[in-house]
Amino acid sequence: MPDEFGYKIEAKVDMAASGTSVPPIDYVPVAERPEQELYHSKSWWTTYVFSQDAKYIGIQYTCVATAIALVGLTLSLLMRIQLAFPNLSLLDASVYYQFITMHGMIMVVFFLTALFLGGFGNLLIPLMCGARDMVFPYVNMLSFWVFVLAVLVLVASFFVPGGPTGAGWTLYPPQAITAGTPGNLWGIVLMLVSLVLFVVGFTMGGLNYVITVLQARTRGMTLMRLPLSIWGIFVATILALLAFPALLVGGIMLLLDAVFGTSFFMPASVSMGELLQTEGGSPILFQHLFWFFGHPEVYIVALPAFGIVSDLISVHARKNIFGYRMMVWALVIIGALSFIVWAHHMYVAGMNPWFGYFFATTTLIIAVPTAIKVYNWVLTLWRGNIHLTVPMLFTLGFIITFLNGGLTGLFLGNVVIDVPLSDTYFVVAHFHMVMGIAPVLVVFGAVYHWFPLVTGRMLDQGLGKLHFWITFVGAYMIYTPMYYQGFLGVPRRYFEMYESSYISTVGLNVFITLSALVVGLAQIIFFYNVIRSVLKGEKAEKNPWKANSLEWQTPKMPPEHGNWGEKLPVVYRWPYDFSVPGVDKEHIPQNVSPSEVAGAKVEKT
């Protein structure tokens, strides 16, 4: 049977459960499409550096993103020391602003986005969909190296005259490119070039993630049989493909303003007593473009985290996920709504107040699908067989953190409450809880969960628990006082604060800083655990967590190039068959045929 391009198709009989003795219940018709031709590397360079194997690219992404995140973490600790002990004069105002800017941009774009989509996306999509690789492996490799280039350009801005830009991670014009802002000549240009490169690289990767999920799944793997991790990454990638262009357009226009003196965003202004040549530009236009990217960006990070949490919670509570379909719907609805809430970041920017009403309403509506997800996670735990493994601890930590981070978002979503709180530490605490700590807890949970898949060895559980408790409790010791500070009216963005007659928070600042240092240093436990386990960790058995999804069902663990050996797996069920009534097995992997579990009854869900 020819396909749409007149291909002659050799039916892959072996893909279907072949042979004569197939029980009728297992029969699936032969495949209609040829298998993908797999690329095989021939030299050291193409195997270990310019690899086209998605698993390997995923690990490369993870390592680069983690390395740059350590830079971001160090910057934040230095800022905290400055805030707690202003008398040390560790950082002056310019350096403080440069560190704020770089910390924000590194963590949001170059760490979390790259890690969830580039790292986990590349590792999990082909394995969980039952594909041998991404659909365009060469483009995938290019995507990673463009990302590396973007990171290098960003890091280079530390070493140019004037240092990196200090415009804040939102890079608002006109101050981003006018004299007086640190890095207004070189730093801002390198930052924008780096972002443009990142968007180009991401688009190449995103093309792969979307099309692999849509078109390259194995037999029997319908979209509604996909694990929620893949749904999360899939929806987030679509968001990113539609949202990053706004950043690209804003970035290019700001770049032209900075380099060629155009006035897309630059109004007529006086700088250092001299009238600038620019006139008429609209700074608020940049804010709209930036936040049209910036708000979906929150969900580009959050949706993969939601998906991964759903899978971890189901596996470690040995119970099917409560309301699978509702979870998928919630992901899709959150994704769609995330495009019509952007201006809630701009309540104090001088918009028409009616505009604020609209965006406050949509913002509060987004709480509905998000709350559905939280309820479903909690209901999944109900009467589950909860194993308090390290991934499970991180998952539970995420749910609580996301819950209280999200609830404080309800305050900030309302215009009248946001106006007084907008410039205080309340905002800092809110988005660090919801977008910093919560996703990072998922990252850790996911690393502890999938580490055996990547290395074939287990991470040490004792060290893992120590790492979890210090990180989790420490995070609350950092951010709960910040909420309080915000209510008192302590302003954010100030590089030094002393005692004043009406607000006294110096003591709290010292407390927060000490907590931050403890949490920061506690990450050494994690890296020690990873390095020790890679070298001489306990060998993991196959499928150590007894999960059902396909990534654990490869013939060898860790999976080899091509993932599946001779035959692609055939999928007969969804990934959440735990404790199915009428079956001896405690869990049924997705590729177990119906005849092997003959007595299985349909589970109510």
């Binding site: 396909d3 749409e4 391009f5 007149g6 699936v28 018709p29 495949a31 209609e32 499409r33 969909c129 659909v135 365009f136 688009t203 093309l207 979307v210 099309i211 849509l214 078109q215 390259a216 799944r217 194995t218 037999r219 029997g220 793997m221 319908t222 979209l223 509604m224 049989r225 493909l241 539609l242 262009p245 706004a246 690209l248 357009v249 804003g250 290019i252 032209l256 060629f260 003196g261 155009t262 006035s263 897309f264 040549q277 006139e279 008429g280 530009g281 609209s282 236009l285 473009l289 699978y324 379909r325 998928v328 719907w329 899709v332 999928v571 069920r573 969804w574 119906p594 349909v602 589970e603």
Partner: protein, 211 residues
Amino acid sequence: MKKKEETFFQLISQKPWEASQAKLDNKHDGKTLKLSREKIGVRTIMVVSTVIFSFFVVAYADRMLIHDWKNMPEPWLLWINTCILMITSYFFHKTKIASDRSENVKVKNGLFTVGFLSFTFIFGQMLVWYQLLNLGYFAASNVANAFFYMLTTIHGLHLLGGLIFWGLTTSKFLKGNYRISKMQRSIELCAIYWHFLLIVWFVLFGLMLFT
């Protein structure tokens, strides 16, 4: 195995755990759309590009409301460039038809014509730039000029990106090292992309003409 195309809403209301649904699902071959992955790839790129150009158009529309906007002239050369781009698209369509019929000589001539015309278009755009700069329309002097230079550059970069794939296809074709079906597919996709860029140019040119 013919199955009815499901709407997205039907798809996400499936109950994968039910026995009746499992029977249907087991027959699923793992493809969501009946399109080749390359075709979906090109379409995705076109969607992303459309979003990018839409943002530029929105920014343009927003910015031109401010009083300092000064219209710039449209040199007659732009009309010629537009014609060149239209002819390119026409020839690409002819080439696609020829490749479907496996008329190799026509395909070869067609590919060369398309490449030549595309480079002529880019050269023509640079000529327009040269003219305008000589007349004193600098990017920094008015934002309308800046938009013109920026939009033509972005459009030109898209065309150059397409020319990379045109180059790959042509070199493969000349070496004779290809499967017919694959070559037809590449030429078809390139042609679609060229038509897309023509439409984008119509929108951009129209925008600058009527404002």
